[in-house]
Symmetry: C2
Subunit: 253 residues, 2 copies
C-alpha cells in the first residue's frame, strides 16, 4: 500500500476515505475546508476524495456548496443487523408503551461510554428531550445509560469515572462513590429512575433488555415531566415492555 | 491515481472501497468470496479492503466468519439530512395515523424507479407487509409508489414501462396505457388506492407530501386488509396526515 501514501501521512487511501466520513460525526453540513481540517487532509486530497464520495452517492453536495451525508449511506446503514433486528423486535412494544403513556419512549444500546439512541417516539405534549435517533448521550446522566452502565463490564465504570464525566445538573452523579451503590440498586430493582440529571424538569424510568444468553443488550425508557417522578405507572410500564422485548429476543426468565 | 490501479481494473482505490459496501445492497451476511464476487475484486484485494472496513467499524466480522454492516455506518447513515428531517417532521403525524387506524403506516420517498421506505409502523393485528425501513419496493405496485410516480417527471414513467415492470398479481398495472389514466386520477383526487397489486389481501391508501416549493417530496400510506378497501376512513385519515406533514414542511395550500 506504500504507493498510496503521501509524504508524512502514513494512512492508506481507504483510511483517508473513512476520515472524510468521520468528519460528519459532529456536523451535518460541512464545507470543503471544514472536512479537510477534520480529516487532517490537504485541501486537494480532500477535494479529490470528496468527489469520489459524491460520485458514489454517500455524500451529496448542495447548491450552497456544502456537503451532507447522502441517502446511499442511509440505505446502507439501516442494513446494520444490530440496529435492524433490535428495532424490528422492539417496535411493537415501544408503540404499546407510547400508546399507554403518551410520553417520550426511547430505545438505546451502549456505544463505548455513551448510550446510542436507536429509536425514539415523542408525544406532542410530552417533555422536550435532546435525544434523537442516532444521538449518543452520556451513560451516567440518562436513564437508559445508567441501565446500560449497571450491566456493563466493570472496566466501563472505571473508564467513565476516569474520563471526567460532566456534571450537567446538581443531581448528576459523576464519582465512583456515588455511582457504585446506585448501579447496585438498579441491578437489584431492575429499574433506573433518573430525575433532573441531564436536562431540567425531566424524569426517566428505564429497564434492561436481555437476549437469549441473558445478557443485557439494550435499554428502554420513558421520559416524562419531573413532577411525574412519583407516579409508579412509568416504571411498571417500562418494566413490562422490557420483559416483552427480551422474550421476543429469546430470553427466558 | 494511476498508482492505485491494478492491471485491467481501472477503478480507483476509493471506488473499490465503495464497491465493497455495495456488495451489502442485496445481502445482510456475506462471506469474503461473496463480497469479492459482487465487488468484482480479486480475493486478496477484497480481503485487504475488508480488513480496512472492519478496522474502521463500517463492517463487522462475526464469529461465524461472515461480514455484516456495522453500527458505524448506521450512525453515519442516520445523519443523512433528507431522511432525518423528513422523519422528524413526519413522525408525530405517523403516530397519530397509527393510533387512529391501528394499521400499517408507511412513509416513503422516490429512489429511481423504487419507493424507499423511511419509516414503518405496524400494528400487532394489522396485515403483514413486506416493507421495512430501508426497503425499496417498485413504484408501480405500491400505494406510496403510485403517488410518487404520479408526480414524478414524465420520463420516470417512460423509464419504468421500458424497464419491464413485474406483474406481481392480476391487478398489478404494468403498461403505459393502464398507468397513464390511473396516475391522472391520482393527481386529480390526491389519493392513490391500491388493492391486491403487490401482495394478496392487502389494500393501501396513499397521499402526497409537499414541501414549501409545492413539490411532492414523499408519500404516506396506510396498508390494511383488502376487505377494508371500501372503508372511506383510510383515505380521509391519510389525506389529513399528508397535509399536516406538508404544512410542517412549509407548504401552504
Amino acid at each position: 500500500m506504500s504507493g498510496n501514501r503521501s509524504a508524512g501521512d502514513v494512512r492508506s487511501v481507504a483510511e483517508k476515505v473513512f476520515a472524510i466520513a468521520d468528519a460528519f460525526g459532529t456536523g451535518a453540513e460541512l464545507s470543503l475546508s471544514d472536512i479537510a481540517q477534520r480529516a487532517n487532509l490537504p485541501l486537494s486530497t480532500a477535494h479529490r476524495l470528496l468527489a469520489e464520495w459524491v460520485e458514489w452517492g454517500g455524500i451529496v453536495r448542495g447548491d450552497d456548496g456544502l456537503y451532507r451525508v447522502g441517502m446511499r449511506l442511509w440505505k446502507l446503514g439501516v442494513r446494520a443487523p444490530t440496529a435492524r433486528r433490535m428495532r424490528m423486535v422492539a417496535l411493537p412494544f415501544l408503540e404499546d408503551l407510547y400508546e399507554v403513556t403518551r410520553e417520550n419512549v426511547h430505545l438505546a444500546i451502549r456505544d463505548g461510554l455513551g448510550a446510542l439512541y436507536l429509536e425514539r417516539f415523542s408525544g406532542r405534549g410530552s417533555v422536550p428531550v435532546i435525544s434523537e435517533v442516532g444521538s449518543r448521550l452520556p451513560l451516567h446522566a440518562t436513564g437508559v445509560g445508567l441501565v446500560l452502565l449497571a450491566w456493563a463490564p466493570s472496566d466501563v465504570l472505571e473508564e467513565l469515572v476516569a474520563s471526567g464525566p460532566r456534571k450537567f445538573l446538581p443531581n448528576t452523579m459523576v464519582t465512583e462513590r456515588e455511582l457504585r451503590p446506585r448501579l447496585a440498586e438498579i441491578r437489584a430493582t431492575g429499574i433506573a429512575r433518573s430525575v433532573n440529571e441531564l436536562t431540567a424538569d425531566s424524569f426517566s424510568a428505564a429497564a434492561p433488555i436481555r437476549d437469549q444468553t441473558n445478557e443485557v443488550v439494550a435499554a428502554v425508557s420513558i421520559v416524562a415531566h419531573a413532577d411525574r417522578s412519583a407516579d409508579p405507572q412509568y416504571a411498571a410500564a417500562v418494566g413490562v415492555a422490557s420483559r416483552g422485548i427480551s422474550r421476543a429476543l429469546g430470553w427466558r426468565s
